[in-house]
């Protein structure tokens, strides 16, 4: 029998930060992850983490304004204030834990400038900031002797009397389903990238947490806000960090022009990501692209700067495309990268379901609104990962006992066995590829009523067809075939919420740009969209955006 005060699902930056906070508070804490913690996709974050350090003349209000402007005024301003205010102490904490941030000449933390920021306030470790942070947080959990359910996969959340009391999960190594009871559960399962094809995301980014929360009635908020990163590698979409442009790289069209001069005369290549991606797509659509791409040009940075500050990018460019960044520009295109939307939470990570918390990319406390700024996601994971633990600590302290129901486990075991028993159906991958293509063409950099409708119909069709999919692997041990099938259902459920959000938001804001309604509409749509299930029925509704002192203005870069 597995029982904990706090169970954290997901072991990326948000999950590990939450775990450390919970362990330090003396709570019986466990981490559960479908991959070993250091394999989590946080490792792929490259460019850095934002923080306005007051002791060097920066101020958090300026960071907050940049973030709110970047969000196209959809972010909840109180949440942004919290994130930007708490950034400094969290950054220093990370440094004390051992993160080897780059330094300036005096040995203090050094910065680079990132997109949408008025000044340089991005702290970094070469082009491996996420990996360097993730490994250090993992080291700290080793130090704390944290309990990890490594390579376990959650199939269901346990809800009793409307409150979350644990999960049903499969030990991938044995194929056995178990109940893991907990007084509270924190979802920190990361992104949804594989719903789109291509995507910069890892193959494990399948929206598990969002689907699990949605399944038990939690609201998913602003799901139409999908970020396309301006510099995905043509082909399979591997990420080339914004750090390149932060260090001064140019974007060029087929005429060799720095086309961002026309779209964002002041910020140029460092305008916010939605703006740069739209500019690139416009160049490509108007015939100034090269094989569906534009060029990222680092040549003028010189070999030594490229190797010291952008080493991992150089590795990717050489290994995957045979291009030396010091000698040749590299083709890039807008590529699905991040979802600003997610499980709605309050400032302490509390979702609509008592006992269920969420943090990181799977959550939406609304600090990114309609467009996330580069290097704000690492900050989000750390600040709100920690806060979600504080929320869960307080909540679980008021819970005395956990009930002993076993019936749900039997039902779940039957459900999974039925999937294993199905034969002669379609392959999961066939459906996933169709979904990926439909979502990328329907919910792209540019979208309209018709494209969204086609994507939604496709997803509904795939949800029907899912019931007839079958798998080859009927075994128990490390059955990834089964896991992919379960992940596919998660992705389809989440894809539908994305389509519902997109069809309902009848304006253009941030990453949600409709070619049939090109204007932002603050009068009617300074609002969050919500998709939630009530008694099995899908509901759509809206809520107001929290505005403190920054009134919406026209957004120019």
């Amino acid at each position: 029998m597995y029982e904990h005060d706090i169970l954290i699902v997901g072991a990326g930056l948000a999950g590990l930060r939450a775990a450390l906070e919970s362990i330090e508070a003396g709570k019986n804490t466990a981490i559960l992850s479908k991959v070993h913690p250091v394999r989590s996709h946080s490792c792929a974050a490259q460019g850095g983490i934002n923080a306005a350090l007051t002791d060097r003349g920066d101020n958090w209000e300026d960071h907050a304004l940049s973030t709110i402007k970047g969000s196209d005024y959809l972010a909840d301003q109180e949440a942004v204030e919290i994130m930007c205010r708490e950034a400094g102490e969290n950054l220093i904490d990370l440094e004390h834990m051992g993160v080897i941030f780059s330094r300036d000449e005096e040995g203090r933390l050094g910065t680079r400038r990132f997109g949408g920021q008025s000044v340089a306030r991005t702290f970094f470790v070469g082009a491996i900031t996420g990996s360097a942070m993730l490994h250090v947080l993992y080291e700290q959990t080793v130090k704390q002797n944290a309990q990890v359910y490594e390579e376990w996969f959650v199939t269901k959340l346990i809800i009793e009397d409307g409150e979350c009391r644990g999960v049903i999960a499969m030990d991938i190594n044995s194929g056995k389903l178990e109940i893991i009871k907990a007084k509270s559960v924190i979802l920190a399962t990361g992104g949804i990238g594989r719903i789109f094809e291509p995507s910069t995301n890892a193959l494990i980014c399948t929206g598990d947490g969002l689907a699990l929360a949605y399944d038990v009635g939690a609201s998913l908020m602003d799901m139409e806000m999908i970020q396309y990163h301006p510099t995905g590698l043509a082909g399979n979409g591997i990420l080339l960090s914004e750090g390149a442009r932060g260090e001064g790289a140019y974007l060029l069209n087929s005429n060799g022009e720095r086309f961002m001069e026309d779209y964002a005369p002041e910020y140029l290549e460092l305008a916010s990501r939605d703006v740069v991606s739209r500019a690139e797509q416009t160049e490509i659509n108007e015939g100034r692209g090269i094989d569906g791409c534009v060029l990222l040009d680092c040549r003028h940075l010189g070999k030594s700067k490229i190797e010291e500050k952008l080493g991992y990018l150089q590795e990717v460019a050489i290994e995957f495309r045979g291009i030396d960044l010091a000698e040749q520009p590299i083709p890039v295109k807008p590529t699905m990268h991040y979802i600003m939307g997610g499980i709605k939470t309050d400032f302490m990570g509390q979702t609509d379901i008592p006992g269920l918390f969420a943090a990181g990319e799977c959550a939406n406390v609304s600090v990114h609104g309609a467009n996330r700024l580069g290097a704000n996601s690492l900050l989000d994971t750390i600040v709100f990962g920690r806060r979600s633990a504080r929320g869960a600590i307080e909540y679980s302290s008021q819970i005395n006992s956990i009930s002993k129901s076993k019936e749900e486990l039997n039902n779940e075991t039957k459900r999974i066995q039925n999937i294993i028993n199905r034969t002669n159906g379609e392959r999961s991958a066939t459906l996933r590829n169709e979904m990926g293509e439909a979502m990328t063409s329907g919910i792209g950099v540019f979208r309209d009523t018709k494209s969204i409708k086609i994507a939604k119909q496709k997803v509904l069709n795939l949800i029907d067809r899912y019931e007839n999919t079958s798998i080859d692997n009927k075994g128990k041990i490390f059955n990834t075939d089964l896991i992919f099938n379960l992940e596919l259902k998660y992705m389809l459920d989440v894809a539908l919420t994305i389509c519902i959000g997109a069809e309902n938001r009848k304006e253009s804001r941030g990453a949600h740009y409709r070619t049939d309604i090109t204007e932002r509409d603050d009068k009617n749509w300074l609002k969050h969209t919500h998709v939630a299930k009530t008694d099995g029925e899908v509901q759509f509704y809206t809520s107001d955006v929290n505005i403190t002192k920054w009134k919406p203005e026209i957004r120019k870069y």
Partner: protein, 321 residues
């Protein structure tokens, strides 16, 4: 997508499943149609998704940063997501096996428990000393940039897979854990360098590396684990943690060359083990006898190189540096 040419490759995979064939391994060959930009991982994913869903493997990022997909390709450990098929295929064939030196769970999925146990054994976390500053610890950027070279390690296990010492000596900490240890010992913020080095002096530590270079060869992230182990040896001797056979071997080796310009193997053994260490010396007798029988008897008496003065000059130059 990229414009490409297609062709068919034979991918032979070493498979193993505790539920099949009594857990005995067997090889299975798949004919896979591939594009010329395919990596080995692309081909494996194609098998899993389109041909045979029973194939188990780990993979996540596809971009050589998560460390999930180390496997042996044609006998050598590789991160398959960054290994182009066109580079490794021979006559349109490749062989893929799980990493070595670790038990297999299923097919290409290895049990990394021994790997992480050794990682844990080096106390892999910063242990700063003194009062915690209000702001960041001050540290020279050059030191931090140097450490990034080691932090590039993604714990993929390629070096451990192909480590020749681990093949014969289970308790060797291995290249990944030792490189991790170096990461803290070389960190100006860490306060327990001496204790860390002391722990690495023990059996299974830094002196067990035979410098075969395999780890350097197969590391997909240029971490150079062996170079880190050599740096740890230098640091140990600098810190006078040198009362072990390994350090004494290294010192005697250097002294003999320095003084005679040539190595005297007998003296090397006597000085390393200690002249009166009868038990240890007796253990070496069988080797001495078989060497004798093979006609590989080193000269008993000290002899010198004709150019020993020149060699002394080289040492002087190095020492003055």
């Amino acid at each position: 997508m990229l414009q490409t040419a297609k062709k068919t490759i034979q991918i032979e995979i070493k498979r193993q499943d505790p539920e099949i064939n009594n857990g005995e391994s067997y090889n299975q060959i798949y004919d896979v149609e591939v594009e010329d930009w395919f990596t080995v991982l692309d081909a494996l994913i194609k098998i899993r998704e389109e041909i045979d869903g029973t194939l188990s493997l780990r993979c996540a990022c596809r971009a050589s940063i998560c460390g999930s997909c180390a496997m042996r390709v044609n006998g050598q450990a590789k991160l398959v997501c960054k290994t182009k098929l066109s580079v490794v295929e021979k006559n349109n064939k490749i062989l893929v096996e799980p990493v070595g030196n670790m038990p297999v769970i299923s097919d290409l999925v290895a049990d990394f428990k021994p790997f992480w146990d050794k990682f844990n054994a080096v106390e892999p976390y910063l242990k700063p000393e003194g009062e915690v500053p209000e702001g960041e610890y001050l540290a020279p950027n050059d030191d931090m940039v140097h450490l990034v070279g080691v932090m590039n390690c993604i714990m993929c296990g390629a070096c451990v897979s192909d480590c020749t010492v681990l093949e014969v000596k289970d308790n060797f900490l291995g290249p990944a854990a030792l490189a991790k240890s170096y990461r803290f010992i070389a960190d100006p913020r860490d306060g327990s360098q001496f204790e860390r080095l002391q722990n690495l002096e023990k059996d299974g530590g830094i002196w067990d590396c035979t410098r075969c270079m395999q780890c350097v060869e197969v590391c997909p992230k240029d971490v150079d684990p062996m170079e880190r182990i050599m740096s740890l040896r230098s640091k140990s001797i600098e810190n006078k943690i040198d009362k072990n056979y390994g350090a004494r071997h290294a010192k005697s080796f250097t002294d003999l060359i320095k003084n005679n310009g040539i190595l005297n193997e007998v003296l090397l053994i006597l000085r390393t083990k200690g002249l009166f260490n009868i038990i240890e010396l007796a253990k070496l007798l069988p080797i001495a006898i078989s060497a004798q029988l093979a006609g590989k008897r080193p000269p008993f008496f000290s002899h010198s190189s004709k150019n020993k003065n020149q060699i002394k000059k080289i040492f002087k130059k190095l020492e003055d540096k």
